[in-house]
Amino acid sequence: MSTKSADRLAEIRARVARRAPESAPAPAAIGAAPADDAALSAASAHFLGIAEQIIQNKIVERIPVGHIAPDLRPEMRQPRLLPPPEELLAQGEPAPAYRELVAELLALGQSLHERQIQPIIVYPGTSAVYPAARYLILVGHRRWVAAMLSGIEALDAVVVEPPAVADRVRVQYAENEAREEFSDMERAWALTQMKQALGDAPWDAVESQFGISRSRRHELTRLLAFTPEQQRQIALLRMQETQIRSLHGALRASELTSEQVDRIIGRLAEIAGERRNAASAADDGSGRSVPRRAGIDGPTVARLVARAQRSAAESSRPSAPRWLLPLRDQLANVSRSIQRARDRVAILDDADADALLAEVEHLTIQLAALTAALTTRRE
């Protein structure tokens, strides 16, 4: 420390040493007097998340795992795709389709053996499938499955009142939203559940419950164009909406049949399996746990979709030239863009409007010429 700083330090030390005992604030100044109820409620609402608000002031209990079960009623299904423990294991061995999921759950079970960091949240209820159950799961389904697979006898749990269906969906969504492995398909299911829970409310009510934008909701609900089995497969592959945009786009535009989509999803599952095997072979043995992903990017899906479209076009019209399908795609895109732009031209300034008008007139001329050529060909 420089001389100047050392002098400063000495000066402060002297000042601190000179303090009369009564000059310091009384230690008892930090009283424990509680604030009023309104201030307490406002502070709780500000600082605590939804799940934390539900369990606040509740005690943590140790409950036997056998007394806990998932709520299997259709309207109460969990947002996460998580098969029951008995489906994950076949004769004590992981079912081939769920090998990685079981490995993840067993790792979670090992961690629960060592220490359960957060209690699960349950409410009183019974289950037709698990007759010993006295509590049904609100939050912590994955930890319960892990405990069942790992032979853990009891879990720390907080017992709450049975929640309303909409509250339940909101809590479960909030609990899962930040998790990396929560897939867009599962998000789309949660949106549908919330819509039903709100009595088939308009989508904007659902968007506000989840705090998501209209465009994001659109992206997610487009995934519901797949059949239920296709949705399940996509959720198992944990593919996000952007990765399979070309696939659901082609399905919604009727450019692919459901059977073609089945084949593409089957091929994606094969690719994911091949990549998982390759990753296992290259495992560095560090034991690091990484989120399970299909390892398939958007361009891979787009290539499979394009191939299926080409194949369909070639089989129906073998003589169709290669440029025709891309041109038709472009025309369809331009047509949609023009349709959208019609309602928005009012916001353009004069220069932009003039430039757009010139381009539209040029396009109109080209379209008229193409129309004439096609008509002449028919005659």
Binding site: M1, S2, K4, S5, R8, L9, I12, R13, R15, V16, A17, R18, R19, S23, A24, P25, P27, A28, A29, I30, G31, A32, P34, A35, A39, L40, A42, A43, S44, H46, F47, L48, G49, E52, Q53, I55, Q56, N57, K58, I59, V60, R115, Q116, I117, Q118, P119, V158
Partner: protein, 260 residues
């Protein structure tokens, strides 16, 4: 007792660096100080050479909340700083707090009051918080007498500061001893026009809350963490300047809170 909560929801702003070196600076001027590591990542504890491997979960604030005397959990670090260390099991601290009366808002306050009754005579307590809003931040602000937010002239940091201002205002409704928020410009380097613009935005919006002491970017702070020492123990070329700045900061806080 003055309790300083070093907090900001944005990570990487230097909360641990401030908490550790501020505690060392208070000790240097002869004030009895306790550093409480409230982050399950245990960074303050590691910085001062206390490894969580050598601890049990109830050596941390978890034990104090469950009734263990504070004095049993506090340990003196190699350079003599009184530290209540963190433990990775504190990841469950939010759930533990919300299961307490009043969602744990007064749990830390009760723990310190109890410690005082048991003879703890710390004049200053420094709480090092994780970069998150939640029950731990709530209980810290529910007992703190001042919140200190380390900031840089960056957009995301300034956005996060707005959230902290809201949190401090909420906490003041339940904690009349919380005097308010002080903003500490830490690792402060204004290199380009955009940095100056954010610096001006900070002055315009939060001028009265800005502390006069500014801690610039200095290698000594980073290197001191690497050797598990505060800058008051670490020897290097620019450590001396940084020590001087932390003494300035102590002086400013003492005057602000009329301790000396």
């Amino acid at each position: 007792m003055n309790i300083y909560a070093v907090s900001l929801e944005k990570g990487g702003v230097g909360k641990t660096s401030i908490a550790v070196n501020l505690a060392a600076a208070f000790m240097q001027v002869g004030i009895r100080v306790l550093l409480v590591d409230l982050d399950a990542q245990c960074h303050s504890s590691q910085w001062l050479g206390v490894s969580s491997d050598s601890l049990r979960a109830d050596d941390s604030i978890l034990g104090v909340i469950q009734g263990r005397p504070l004095g049993d959990c506090v340990r003196s670090t190699a350079e003599g700083i009184a530290l209540l260390p963190a433990h990775p099991a504190m990841a469950g601290l939010p759930a533990l707090l919300v299961s307490q009366p009043n969602s744990g808002l007064f749990t830390l306050r009760r723990a310190f009051n109890q410690a005082r009754e048991q003879g703890a005579d710390y004049e200053i307590v420094i709480l090092d918080l994780a970069p998150a809003r939640g029950p731990v931040q709530a209980t810290a602000l529910g007992t703190a007498t001042r919140c200190i937010a380390p900031v840089q002239a960056e957009d995301l940091v300034i956005q996060s500061l707005k959230a902290l201002v809201d949190s401090v205002e909420q906490a003041r409704q339940i904690n009349p001893h919380l005097r308010g928020l002080s903003i500490l410009r830490n690792r402060y380097a204004l290199r380009g026009a955009i940095d100056h613009a954010y610096d001006q935005a900070l002055r315009d919006e939060y001028g009265p809350l800005l502390l006069q002491t500014v801690i610039p970017v200095r290698a000594a702070l980073r290197h001191a963490a690497g050797v598990q020492q505060s800058v008051f123990r670490y020897i290097s070329g620019d450590a001396s300047e940084v020590r001087g700045l932390f003494v300035e900061l102590v002086d400013e806080l003492l005057r602000l809170d009329e301790v000396a």
